[in-house]
Symmetry: C2
Subunit: 358 residues, 2 copies
């Protein structure tokens, strides 16, 4: 077996230990005679997996019993619609930050449903960035405010969670549990699972129960947060395999020590940014003060060199370094499970590539 260094932005690399454990148990989970994929979601074998996954995540995020953690299929993209459907009523306003592609998509879905105030807009700025603290214009009395803490495509991250004056909702798809955050500043936060949490197929949604109760009760059952809160994500069949791998990944984070992982994440990113800053050959895409530790983005002098860079890296076992098709350039996604050795290999390659082509 030879594993590549997988720089994909999501679905993305998972902890090798988690994969090996899942492999061992795939046909017969811990002697119960069936795969996790085959278990009734109402049975006790699955129930233990479900409860432990929630408990470990709550512990890692420092959430008390005022919070519910829900598994909602449809990824962050469905959340972009569910949030305004539930909480943005007629004659109400919600604040949104257009920080990039994902913040912009959230705005677009909300505008279909109600009145949106753009609290700050830096979607079109190059180099990409998040808004400065003094740039936000929050609406007094807004029903909620929405931010995207890390823009996966551009590689720009909010370093300081803003005080918005209304219930704060965070799309943390690509930086959840990657750096120190006070999650209790939020009223709700969510993440498509396929970056730092597990496989694709669901959003993990943490929501204050009191807030969920305020949602529009005339919506379809499956679009109401209260359905997931009241039924502990078991109103209908949940994505059991994804929840299992999520739970195993959360146990791995706990075992590694989250503070230790946060430190490693900062070190991994710094190594790549240091190469970028040491030369004119590479140009970082994000403004320095907003540089993401999860998605490192940069350009080369020409698109031809970028294509060559990606192709040569691939031959050396470094996959998915091509930037998102909407922006081009290079992107190295280095989530919690991405190993330091992969970063070292990339850094060595970057130096070598510049020497040969600079």
């Amino acid at each position: 077996m030879s594993r590549i260094y997988n720089f994909a932005a999501g679905p993305a690399v998972l902890p090798l230990e988690v994969l090996q454990e899942a492999q061992k148990n795939l046909v017969d989970y811990k002697g119960c005679g069936m795969s996790v994929m085959e278990m009734s979601h109402r049975g006790k074998d699955y129930d233990a997996i479900h409860q432990e996954a929630i408990a470990t995540f709550k512990e890692l995020c420092g959430l008390n019993d005022d919070w519910a953690v829900c598994f909602i299929q449809g990824g962050a993209s469905l959340q972009f619609a569910m949030i305004p459907l539930n909480f943005l009523g007629k004659d109400q306003v919600a604040d949104y930050v257009k920080s990039g592609t994902w913040g912009g998509k959230a705005v677009k879905e909300a505008q279909k449903i109600g009145t949106v105030n753009i609290a700050a807009d830096c979607q079109k700025d190059i180099p990409t960035r998040q808004p400065d603290a003094d740039e936000f214009k929050w609406t007094p009395g807004a029903v909620y405010s929405h931010i995207c803490t890390n823009e996966t495509i551009s590689g720009a991250e909010i370093k300081e969670i803003p005080e918005t004056g209304s219930p704060l909702i965070g799309d943390m798809s690509s930086d959840i549990l990657s750096c120190p955050r006070d999650y209790t500043k939020f009223t709700m936060f969510y993440a498509g699972a396929q970056k730092n949490l597990g496989p694709s197929g669901m959003a993990v949604v943490a929501i204050r129960k009191e807030f969920a109760e305020k949602g529009n009760a005339s919506l379809p059952t499956m679009l109401q947060y209260r359905t997931f809160v009241d039924e502990n994500s078991l109103y209908n069949t949940p994505p059991t395999w994804g929840i299992y791998i999520f739970g195993e990944t959360m146990k791995w984070v706990k075992k590694m020590g989250k503070e230790n992982l946060f430190k490693l994440n900062a070190e991994k990113a710094k190594k790549i940014y240091d190469v970028i800053d040491s030369t004119e050959f590479y140009r970082g895409t994000a403004k320095k003060e907003f540089r993401s530790n999860m998605n490192v983005t940069w350009r080369l002098p020409t698109e031809e060199l970028e294509a060559q860079f990606v192709a040569e890296a691939k031959k050396l076992g470094m996959g998915s370094l091509k930037g998102h098709r909407s922006v081009g350039g290079i992107r190295a996604s280095i989530y919690n499970a991405f190993p330091m050795e992969g970063v070292d290999a990339l850094v060595a390659f970057m130096k070598d590539f510049e020497k040969k082509n600079g």
Copy 2:
């Protein structure tokens, strides 16, 4: 390793061959250096899996290029809402058959959104059944008609697909690809994957492209069928692992020969029904002409005996025989992947149990 005989209604038993193949490839899929769970959904490794899964399913169902096959997260329960949201407008009527719990849930969600005509109602009938052919009252000019071909909880199946006079939509969650059907009689059919198709976490939706185009275009992007049709279920990150196992399961069906599987399914069910019919001790729950070949349901003389039956079977390696919590009794779900030996073991146990307790 000792596998149990898993009679669960869904998530349910998967083909052992499929699980073993998935296990072999879990950490490194066919030498590409990563797990299917870690692959970018925009990369060529995953793309091959995605395309083959769709093609195999279309071939098995006999669908031409007028049809799209979509992977939509949220299971059949979200479909109950998406269908009327897309197709049931103001001043329009849709026909629904209340054939049991699931047909009833579909009605409930549709009634939140528009005007529903109940074309037939046998939800409360015991023994459970589907409507007789002369019982349906279809609405001229209905925008669509909705049936549930197999009621998983009660074990009642429609044997003859009715002519409804409007575009027919079928919830086939628990009997898709289990018996001969002319799928082209439908305009759309769908199934929660976790019974005959793969793991939980999505509905597989087959829809005529022309029909999808008629959907309400002002809905949130993720709730429009056209999003999934136009983007081949790649508008956002799809549930890649579930699609992979679905594709492997469809290849297994093809390899086994679907006609052969259909015949085996009928034989498996008949063996159990024959024991039920040979005695007064067991009483079948469904009317004979509507008996499901996928979910065989019956009662014992007392609830105490039912509990004892389930407990003793479990000790013998036969799991999840307890009927759905809403109706009680016994249920043996015997989907495509359920082996004949498991049926033989159950039949032997039923005879023995009656001898000791009858």
